[in-house]
């Protein structure tokens, strides 16, 4: 299938900012967190956006596709049902594991970049794909620590994943920036290594530097350095869409609007 084209600039729909998202100018598409929606009673605000023709893309956070465990097909089924309920052309989750050894980290943990981890991830992704009604895009996560025995760079790991599963990529430039700061990922090399023709869309988010660690909080303003990574990406490919994620400590509508405008300015700069 062809990729999703021209989504434009979007924002993550959250119940706390539902009215903001509805009335902000220049919201071309939204994402919803699939785990927070219930089939049969979508939030009124999401229904309203759908009626306006705004694309709504389900984004999952709990499939744990990088887990050594088998995929929980109930979670996959829910994601697929949300996709059908909102008529989405694509769904997404992360290249990560959430659960292991009977424990739940409550977070998107990086997987070791080893052959073992890649083989398991590929098998899990293929099973998820077989049980989803629409294509799956997978997102790079922000890591605070590095597994000791990585055999591949982050970009090579994702390129292999795409090669073997034909999945799409959701590139989070804030996570890429975080990894550059925290674990020494080279953003330019990352962008050189991933297959940009499989780029579904892009995430942008805010964070905060604490001492020598950058925390991808989604609760602070987007740093200019993150927009620079977006700029670098846009110099190589016109992304089909770019979406701002804000999950806490919500600012005024004006501030959100200006972050969206700053994102649009970067994207437009590269469009002749």
């Amino acid at each position: 299938m062809a990729g999703i084209k021209d989504l434009g600039v979007g924002i993550g729909w959250r119940s706390e900012i539902d009215l903001t998202v509805e009335r902000l100018p220049g919201v071309d598409f939204v994402e919803v967190v699939a785990e927070n929606l219930h089939i049969g009673h979508l939030p009124e605000s999401v229904t309203l956006l759908l009626e306006r023709g705004v694309p709504v893309l389900p984004h999952a956070v709990s499939l744990s596709l990088g887990s050594a465990d088998q995929v929980d097909l109930h979670r996959v089924e829910h994601l697929g049902a949300v996709a059908e309920a909102v008529g989405a052309p694509m769904v997404s989750d992360h290249v990560c594991f959430v659960r292991a050894g009977g424990l739940d980290s409550g977070h998107l943990m990086p997987v070791p970049r080893t052959k073992d981890a890649l083989d398991v991830l590929v098998a899990n992704v293929k099973l998820a794909q077989r049980n989803l009604p629409v294509p799956l895009a997978l997102e790079n996560v922000a890591a605070l620590l590095e597994w000791p025995d990585g055999e591949l760079s982050e970009g090579q790991f994702l390129a292999e994943l795409v090669e073997r599963t034909d999945c799409w990529l959701l590139v989070d430039v804030a996570n890429l920036y975080a990894n550059a700061r925290n674990i020494g990922t080279d953003p330019e090399r990352f962008l050189d290594e991933i297959p940009l023709e499989r780029l579904a869309y892009v995430h942008v988010a805010g964070g905060e530097q604490h001492g020598d660690i950058y925390h991808d909080t989604h609760a602070h303003a987007v740093l200019p350095q993150v927009l620079e990574v977006l700029d670098e990406l846009c110099s190589r490919v016109a992304p089909p869409g770019v979406l701002l994620e804000r999950d806490d400590n919500y600012p005024s509508d004006t501030e959100i609007a200006s972050e969206l405008a700053a994102i649009r300015a970067v994207v437009d700069k590269h469009r002749g």
Binding site: D69, A100, L103, H107, D116, D119, V120, L145, E146, H215
Partner: protein, 123 residues
């Protein structure tokens, strides 16, 4: 035949990965020993980040408990969390409820608070 070999390979890959992932989460969430090869300082950063995220979610889901505990909320939650890592399949609301219950059992929250929540929950 090739497929069977592949599946066997995959199941051994799963086993090796499972034990490494379990070891890491055990270190981060349940005071387990640091897995070999990891930067200990970064394990500490990750441990605190995960704890802080979990604490924030419990605070958001149970503001009445957090308000009642005031300054005691953070140390109490951290003590509770270390002994009660979140189990796979559990929900954040169950975590918040279990923390409140743990506080009551420790005598840190009065029993009457429970009745007050019931009042503003729909029933």
């Amino acid at each position: 035949m090739a497929e069977i070999v592949e599946e066997n390979d995959l199941s051994s890959a799963r086993e090796r990965l499972a034990s490494r992932q379990a070891e890491l989460l055990n270190a981060l969430l349940a005071n387990g020993p640091a897995p070999a090869g990891f930067d200990e300082q970064r394990l500490g950063v990750e441990r605190r980040a995960l704890l802080s995220k979990r604490r924030g979610i419990v605070r958001m889901l149970g503001p009445a408990v957090a308000d009642e505990l005031g300054d005691r909320f953070r140390p109490l939650f951290d003590a509770y969390a270390a002994d009660h890592p979140r189990r796979a399949g559990s929900r954040a609301r169950e975590d918040a409820a279990a923390f409140a219950e743990w506080c009551r059992a420790c005598g840190e929250l009065p029993e009457k608070l429970k009745a007050r929540w019931k009042f503003w929950q729909s029933n």
